[in-house]
Symmetry: C2
Subunit: 383 residues, 2 copies
């Protein structure tokens, strides 16, 4: 029997929010937690030293992207993703399932897995449960995700049920591969998370969760969310999954979301998040503030000599909005870098403050204050 890897340290009396700690082969992660996304082995625009300065506890890597480029021969020779990317803290890798469906071309879903052409050079590739687990073992991530089919939105119930059946058969094969191979990283057992699917159908979500739990994994994710569905459906998918997941295992909502969505998900019992928004919106000149997001390319900031936000990271201190706007207009990379750092700080500290609020017994107030202050559209269009 394995030692306990997740410790639930406390819960909020007014919601399903909780805080805990997750022990991984490369260190402890305090939850709830935000995981910056390093798709191609680099969190876009950010140096690992900066991630450390931002107190990032764990980052995400993408199996699909890394298998396509640089490819597994190099990842194996390099000694895994930690060494390749010069990052010695925890890493979670997705299984590639989602990307196969969103990026791969001419894909054929078969019982054994998915045949597709990759998006970089069109080469034929194959990902199935065993290959996805093997790749993640080579990457040496601390947390590997099971290989699943992520159905599109909308999706009729018949297809959703068939897709779920396939995902559960694949989960069984992942379980068998893990048991047979017992992959390790940093000399300790790699963790494996199942992914709850079932689209917008409560019974399918419940069945998915129950069957995965019966197989026994180290944590459980809610997948098939943030695929274009309206926000209430996204919340419902989590609400329909979470009650069927064991309290003593971490829960991860994949690929979410806006700052208020993250807090709402914490209130629904989710512990872990990843999202490309902080770095992707930075590339569109957009910075997060507690009052909503602002676009620093707007002419209103031309002569605004305040910092990006009152609450920002020391690495962004001393730079005015006017300066950042100048950098963006002039095409200087530092502008993008400063917003990326600021946005990652915003997301990381948001989850860290949520954790402190749960621990301090004031999560209800924290949630209400944050949601009421945050406006999705504060900023009128630029003149």
């Amino acid at each position: 029997m394995r030692a306990r890897m997740f410790t639930l340290l406390g819960t909020d009396p007014h919601s399903r929010a909780r805080y805990g700690k997750l022990e991984t082969p490369h260190g402890v992660v305090e939850t709830p937690v935000f995981m910056p996304v390093g798709t191609q082995g680099s969190v876009k625009g950010v140096h690992p030293e900066e991630l450390r300065a931002l107190d990032a506890q764990i980052i995400l890597g993408n199996t699909y992207h890394l298998a396509v480029r640089p490819g597994m021969e190099i990842m194996r020779e390099a000694g895994g993703l930690h060494k390749f990317a010069n990052w010695d803290k925890p890493i979670l890798t997705d299984s590639g399932g989602f990307q196969v469906f969103s990026l791969g071309k001419i894909r054929k879903i078969k019982e054994e897995g998915v045949h597709f052409q990759n998006h970089v050079d069109g080469s034929p590739m194959f990902l199935g449960p065993e290959t996805a687990m093997e790749i993640q073992a080579v990457l040496g991530s601390d947390i590997a995700m099971l290989f699943d089919e992520c159905p599109p939105h909308p999706c009729d119930e018949t297809y959703a049920a068939q897709s779920l059946d396939l995902t559960l058969r694949w989960a069984r094969r992942c379980r068998d591969w893990i048991d047979a191979n017992q992959p390790q990283t940093n000399g300790k057992p790699q963790l494996h998370f199942g992914i709850v699917q079932g689209s917008s159908y409560p019974e399918l979500r419940a069945r998915s969760a129950r069957e995965l739990v019966a197989m026994g994994f180290d944590g459980y994710a809610v997948g098939g969310v943030s695929v274009g569905e309206p926000e209430p459906e996204m919340f419902a998918a989590v609400e329909n999954s979470e009650p069927h997941l064991p309290a003593d295992k971490p829960r991860y909502a994949m690929g979410l979301g806006t700052p208020p969505q993250l807090i709402e998900m914490v209130a629904r019992g989710i512990d872990m998040f990843d999202c490309v928004l902080p770095t992707r919106l930075a590339r569109h000149s957009t910075a997060f503030t507690r009052y909503g997001s602002i676009n620093l390319k707007n002419s209103r900031y031309t002569r605004d000599y305040a910092e990006i936000d009152e609450d920002t990271h020391p690495l962004c201190r001393g730079f005015s909005r006017a300066y950042v706007r100048h950098l963006l207009k002039a095409g200087e990379i530092l502008g993008l870098r400063l917003i990326s750092l600021h946005n990652l700080h915003f997301y990381l500290s948001l989850l860290s403050r949520a954790r402190a609020a749960i621990k301090g017994g004031v999560f209800r107030e924290f949630r209400e204050d944050f949601i009421s202050q945050y406006q999705t559209h504060t900023e009128p269009p630029d003149s």
Copy 2:
């Protein structure tokens, strides 16, 4: 009478190389020194914290670029370039002369200055001796350069002589503007450097130097080099200027050069350098090593797990050539950042080692070793 700003601390017995220290309003600069170029108020791809980590003593800003964008109204409101760019160490600004001639469109050179259209939005602009000095006073640089005409290469002697006469009349007007306005930065007098012109004509170079020295400036630059002339002409331009410059003032060779050229210029009595090569070549995937430059996009580095170079900066340690190549191929900004940091470290430490060698009485050996080891083209074309 002003206090001495430059102190010549020692000379090399076998060449004209020297080391010294230059006191500026924002701190002391030890020479010989390399100055990273921050054209638009940012050293491309690099955060000021990284410049500090690299031990950059002084950076360069461009009058022309900053006057075009963000414009002087913002530079004035922002409180000058140091505050705007969040950099509290010394800054040298060029006068805009070189850029007017290389970037400006439909330019008309008149006695009062140069009328031109800027390269960003084509707006009509004017730069003359007084405006260039006034702009640099607003930028608050520690060292401001005189406004000059930089003749093209090749240039016949008649035009070169006429151009030099104009540059000397402009120098006189700069001197008068400085005396009348006595610009300060950080509460201390701004320094002003004259620029020796005269193309490839020894007598013109000598006359230019003598007349500028007679007007009296805080330092002297050799301009009109690295404008497309063959390397021997570049060396000759410096050799024909330097003997006419006072030993107790700093000398600056503008816009140079390759690593061996820098060492050769140090041997010819030059103290200060600026060059875009470290960051520009980084954007072309090229890294400097003691054996010459290498292009990290080349397929030979696909499975090269050594670091960028044995001698690199701590911020570049732990990243393999294979990883940097992967980042470059994948279009990840971190690849460009790592090479920029490495190249700036290479240039900064090259000058710092040259200084130590002069001080230690071993500059002749240092020069010979470095030049003989460094190959301009080590690397065969990629297969």
